[in-house]
Symmetry: C2
Subunit: 333 residues, 2 copies
């Protein structure tokens, strides 16, 4: 197959940052996605309606054609009344970052016990809880598995709360999601579908593949690929594309985040094709997530063509995933 036309995808996990480069990052996503769920761990974080409105407006002004779905960040002492306010303002999720788990998460949540009232209000309001599921005190490769116990308690204590476990990185998380009720789902990134610790540090160390959760073993990657390529009904796409300026990545203390927006669809098409599952790509990128969130499916479409192109070495000051490499699929304008 040399032409692939699918319903326009959504990216249900995206970092766009702030400042001068945000516009370019947003346009990179707009080239492939109709909607993107914008993560709120900015500085300052998105925690109130004015912050949400202004960030959404700035994004959509910079990237016409991209609908910014908005999120707010859960903080330990937040008033539960914020939930209805944020819902009215259009927030799709409240995002739980365990304290210290990733970029700008120092002010996150140590235990769900800290935010029982908030979670209860979210359950009442039908607001989705989105979780960076890593236990920051655990050894780095076991943080996601270590978080599943906490997640199980949240599910038990808030049985009607819709939850998305973000950026699954290991086999155990897939099994966990499968065992849970239908209102518990997961997102999967491009890089966790394609890379392992061997890519990150088996040869030279590759800072542009460094993200949280870190990529894991081949059996984890293969299990994720197998799950999404077989049309898993509870896993959908969230890129976790997370640009950092080149000098914050190629640095003695390298920030976590893989900037994948530009190459996301070409890489996914290549993977699904290799797995003989191109017919499943559209569900993963354009249907399952929208249905989970109760959003209408996008009506526009996007066309990918088998045409080789070279990934730029720098986009908006950040080094994209696969910088300088050749892609076999290309998103047509």
């Amino acid at each position: 197959m040399s032409i692939l036309k699918i319903r326009k995808p959504d990216d249900f996990h995206l970092h766009l940052r702030q400042g001068d480069e945000m516009g370019q990052y947003a346009r990179e996503t707009a080239a492939s996605f109709a909607r993107a769920l914008i993560m709120p761990n900015t500085l300052p974080p998105v925690i109130d309606p004015p912050g949400l409105f202004s960030y959404k407006a700035a994004i959509e002004r910079e990237a016409p054609g991209l609908e910014a779905l908005m999120a707010f960040k859960l903080l330990p002492n937040m008033n539960p009344l914020i939930v209805t306010e944020m819902k009215k303002a259009g927030a799709l999720i409240g995002k739980l970052y365990p304290a210290g788990a990733t970029t700008n998460a120092e002010d996150g949540i140590s235990s769900y016990e800290q935010i029982r009232d908030l979670l209860s209000a979210m359950e009442e309001a039908g607001m989705v809880l989105s979780i960076h599921g890593e236990h920051p005190e655990a050894p780095v490769l076991e943080r996601e598995i270590s978080y599943l116990g906490e997640l199980e308690k949240i599910i038990r204590d808030f049985p009607r709360l819709k939850i998305v476990l973000e950026h699954l990185s290991c086999r155990e998380s897939i099994s966990f999601i499968e065992e849970m009720p239908d209102h518990i789902a997961g997102t999967v990134t491009t890089h966790h579908l394609l890379y392992t610790l061997d890519d990150l540090m088996g040869g030279a160390l590759k800072p542009h593949l460094f993200c949280k959760p870190v990529v894991k073993k081949e059996e984890d990657r293969a299990a994720l690929a197998q799950a999404v390529c077989s049309g898993h009904p509870k896993l959908f796409y969230g890129s976790d594309s997370a640009p950092h300026p080149k000098n914050k990545k190629e640095f003695s203390s390298c920030s976590a985040g893989a900037f994948s927006a530009t190459v996301a669809l070409p890489l996914l098409a290549e993977l699904f094709e290799r797995e003989g599952a191109l017919e499943q790509l559209e569900s993963f990128t354009s249907r399952i997530g929208a249905e989970f969130y109760g959003l209408p499916l996008n009506t526009s479409s996007i066309t990918l063509k088998k045409e080789s192109w070279k990934v730029p070495s720098l986009i908006g000051g950040s080094v994209p995933l696969c910088a300088g490499e050749m892609m076999t699929w290309k998103v047509m304008k």
Copy 2:
């Protein structure tokens, strides 16, 4: 204790590189060590007497007071006659790099079957075989364990060959060394005694802690520390200090190697003190290795003092381990 006087140490695994910066790297080692075993994976590699003589002379000219113990690199098609030549030239070891295992090892050994005659000649000549024990095809965290099977065959086929397994990084290697005869020993680096994957990538990614073999889990680190602090008779110090220019480390494709020479003794003193084992430090750094190699013990001594100092941010164009951090022990001049 605020003053620590020990027999001057030896570093039985050191990379000094070539070119302009080599002198400064050598002097960093000379400040703490009487002798250092210089690794031969230079470009071109040390593979003959003239190469050995000129490298040794260059090092000792640049760093008076440091005795350079020399090595040569084993290549797949090497004539076994080289062994007696290199022995006569003063080489202490022949170094086996599995092909592709680390920096400048593309021309290494795929299987010991390739160099049976060479190993046989080494066994006859009493030349020590030094091994970078990683199986490069295995997943990055399992490469050392995966190599132990190959090592076992070498030991079986060459029962009198003295062997050093370099830079042990995991528990299983300690047990392996313990089960083998006394002429099979291991070296341990500073960084594998102090750091884990959590230091490397638990927070930000730290390229200056990236080395091969990569640092492992806390249980591995703790087992190594426990072994050397209890005076393990078959484990001795080899820093594997391996400077790379800052721009090759803080880079999209970061070279493997931790430049530890400058902070080696202060860090070791701090570790052994913390473990209540300061009295074992001298054996680890200044006796066990020399005895294994049949070298006289150094007669000079070195004094460390409890005095805080700040590690420079750059030495000879390379970023040292613990750059910018405070040390509690200082090597006195």
